[in-house]
Symmetry: none
Subunit: 205 residues, 4 copies
DNA sequence: TATGAATGAGGCTTCATTCAT
DNA sequence: AATGAATGAAGCCTCATTCAT
């Protein structure tokens, strides 16, 4: 994948971002060199600095934009759903679809937290907590309403998130199961795990 | 100048291993430098090469020994248990305890697969598959016996493993919940997820 | 801090090549460090890698270009000469002049064969064989024509080449004998050695 | 070629010497490491220092002993021969046989002059000059006696030595020509080169 | 907007050598 | 006579980054 000859301005910026995501996903942030990235986009290494100030900034931007997107879309996905079990099912379905679709972005955000400088990491961790809090709240409400069992909603939320996120480790678009089948399977695991009766339909993510 | 008196072979080897695990856990394999590692152990960087041939070998040894240990211990943990649901519970309990106790080793084995050279990675992946296969078999038998629902045992196993392994991301020995409480909570999530009736006692891991 | 103003690309490349030849000639390839080379050219060691990929490549390029040059020029030097003895004299004269003029390059090509990696060495050895073959053919033709004695042209060629090349070991441009005198002396040795009657004039190399 | 278990004292010293010669011959002095040498002899690297003080000393000893041997044996080879042409033939024959037999030692002495420290090099160069002087004297006497042409005996001697020494570059004991055939061939080249009539028999070296 | 030359720090690794045991 | 642990210097090489053009 080489140079987009004559690429200019915004197109180059987007190409850098895309190549950056791919390379970080494949090799890890530390292992990816700006030389590689530049080669991928058809630039000299030094030229990248028109588009970011620091390798660290590139990572931070990718991760932050991912989390902003995630937070915006989960809000949409839950909008208008009130029943706690339905909300739980909708959360799980959304999370799965998002993670199957944007596997690389998600993977990076999870794996490369470690590579973020303390200040940047703090910002990202705070955003992640806002996302987790959404699930924790759903569990808490469901427990309060007697619709499911989650005596420790925080721990249960972590467990559920880990399970759903795990799909990034092996999902392939060309695998034997469809996204819908995988969603159904996992939503059942989640609802069963907290003793909720499956019912409502989940909106698409 | 020769050796700093008081240092000795096997003790140094063990110190290097321990420091290696800690540093890889904290910074990642790529980000850890042998200078750091040497400083941590009180050696010159070059002196490390009495104890391994290559930075890559250090990683491979850590990961391989972890998986050998894991495979040996899960066999013990399941030994003598026949009922599929009991086996599932025992598997989950063992996995959790092991991952809470040897968090760093586990974390490294999961995160740094990427940093292993192809040949080494193949060996490790094969060992991991043997471990996964144990859980898949349990689910398959349970399904066959009508004791639980796992129409797709492979996918269910991945989901369960991701959930249980996730505990490494946040568990602290000095946290508010005991290991036993966490085990109970997670085993319930697992059994509930596959629609199994909780029953048997789980052997300690 | 960026570049030291006043330095420029091709000039630097040529300076590196020249310094490389000198240092390898003086210290040997293994003994020459890239630190030395960089210092000689006024660069940081890492900066050398704009100009070659590998220390080995630097050596290979030097040796290969030397042999390409040698092969091109011997063809010129023999062009149009048909009499075998005249060709032998022309070959010897050319070889001597070339070796006196480009002593370092020649010396490196002979001494550092050992330092070339197998693949590179094979390429160079093949080129050398083409050069040797020219002399062998001359001797063979002379023998066939009854103009000289060379029952074993291959061995004789090696002996002659060794003798002529030996001049690199001690020749100094400021020594007591001129190049012309040395050429005459050696050509006599060669022709006498194979029992040929001196005759033709040798074209300058 | 590994450890001579239980080898002690003088036997070890000789093994080190032999392995040293082989390794320097194969890889060059700079490229040979004391680790290699130690492994070859079945010792730890540090243990070599019972047998020499310095890597440099090892080289110097090898080269010096070679030259001492050479000087002693050429004296024997010429002993009792008075006719200059006969002496020249004897010298050439001796030189060739010695170089075919002790190829590695000779090669090292020629190639690794460069690796000797200045003081050591000066000593060796002086010994070499004594050897060269023998040939120069023979040529001078032959010229004075009108038995051969060598207007510049020093230069002629260098040329002859280079030719004869060149045999190290390609001679193989299992090659198609015998030592005797090669000696004859080269002696003819030498005598022919200086216009001497072949006559006397050459003593074996 | 991009290049091309360069920096300086630091990466992993190997080396000759030392010395207590 | 030999080991085994260690040193300290240096090896080749790669990196993120800078900046004149």
């Amino acid at each position: 994948m080489a140079r987009t000859v004559g690429s200019s301005g915004p197109k180059t910026a987007e190409a850098i971002r895309a190549a950056g995501i791919r390379l970080i996903y494949e090799h890890g942030f530390e292992a990816m060199s700006l030389r590689q990235l530049a080669a991928e986009v058809g630039l000299q290494p030094g030229s990248l600095y028109k588009y970011f100030d620091t390798k660290q900034d590139l990572l931070f931007d990718i991760v932050r934009e991912h989390l902003e997107d995630l937070l915006a879309k989960i809000a949409d996905a839950l909008d208008g759903i009130v029943d706690p079990v339905a909300r739980l099912a909708a959360f799980a379905a959304f999370h799965l679809r998002y993670h199957m679709t944007l596997k690389s972005n998600v993977y990076i955000a999870n794996m490369e937290l470690r590579s973020l400088e303390p200040d940047n990491r703090a910002i990202i961790v705070a955003m992640r907590k806002r996302y987790e809090a959404i699930l924790i709240d759903i569990l808490r409400e469901g427990q309060a309403a007697g619709a499911l069992h989650a005596a420790e909603p925080r721990v249960a939320a972590f467990a559920i998130l880990a399970m759903l996120t795990g799909i990034c480790n092996w999902y392939r678009a060309d695998g034997p199961m469809t996204q819908d089948e995988l969603v159904t399977l996992h939503v059942d695991l989640v609802l069963g795990g907290v003793g909720a009766k499956r019912q409502a339909v989940h909106k698409a993510g």
